[in-house]
Amino acid sequence: MTIWHEMAEQRLLQYGCVLDNGEVKHSSFPSEYRKHLAVARQSLIYIFKNVGKHVDGYDEAHMEVGDTHFSGYLIDENRILVCLCAAETNQHDVRAFIESNKQRFSS
């Protein structure tokens, strides 16, 4: 079972991917969601770039675009976990999952 299946099973996301220096790696986004992924990727890169420019300590971002909810988590300074999730997803649970599975996102 992949980490994406595991997270989907726990209702933490629908689709996910890791951005490594802005490039899409390890994605579970299906092709019909490529526009969503493109928007999420560009937006989250922009947000974290501005976060880095202005303030410290911010490592998660959430966006509601149309009917879609995106979340982004900084795994480390080069990598962002992108999640497409349901509106009611408990983000504390997502964060807890990431904390205890950080190593798996880098493999």
């Binding site: 303030v55 966006m63 675009v65 149309g66």
Partner: protein, 318 residues
Amino acid sequence: MKDHKILFTGAVCAGKTTAIRSLSDIETLDTDAKASDVTVRRKKNTTIAMDYGVLELAQDSRVHLYGTPGQERFSFMWEMLANQFAHDAIGLVLLVDNTRKDPFRDVRFYVKEFGEYIRKRRLIIAVTHSDIEPNPGYNDYLACIRELGLMATVMFVDVRNPKTVLSIVEELISAVELEINWAEVGERILDHNGFSLDFYKPIYEETLLDAAMNKRGILGAMHLGAEQEVLSSNIDEQQSVALLKSMHKLSSAIAQKSELVGEVSNIVVGGPAVRTLSMFSDDDQALCLCSERDVSLPVLKQQASDLLQWSRENDYLA
């Protein structure tokens, strides 16, 4: 004596207090206080604890009517009502104001808040203010409850009219009380309580910023206009202001390409040891908030939605 109970809930100004006043045979207990947040745009007083009334159905049967306060910051009372006073209620009536920008957001919010409660009893979604705003309509609400996987009845009501509010009670009680003369009860409460006329009158208003600061967990706010200009702000940290403005700029950029996936309604950034910064855009304005970390995303969104709702021109209320 058979005692039944019904719990009314819904957002501020949805009509909970008016509905209970329309029905009650006794002088209702209402715990109104001068409204100190954005609800003053529409009403002078807001319920802070609960509404309570009693409706006599027959000599040996009556209904106790409980109403929750609408504002989220008094939500501790929701739990108390659901778990204590009205734990054995026959049904929950969710009053939904059809003039809200997104009434379905309210439905989703309250269905989630009362999720466990709803699972054990009937739910009626009673849509109010449809004389002012007829859309969304009946079928739209049916689609919404289908999407949420709910078993619920949808009714459009004018809570100022005792007879239409009584139809909600009849819907809930008639299955267990077969001998009630509903027409007679309707005539009696109409004679007794009359038709309320002061439901929509706005009394006075206050700034969006002051209203924001009265919300639970909000530490600062900034109101941006259509050109991303600062209309008002009490957020002092310039770095936070710059970040919030960049978030608004991003939402405007995406709006220009909205055919991609839709428009941005909010962006929120946070971290384990920092205050949450959020930006909520709404047509030609945006509300930026700085809040405590423990305010959950759904609550933050509901608070911002309430605030932005009444910062728009509401000519029909004048």
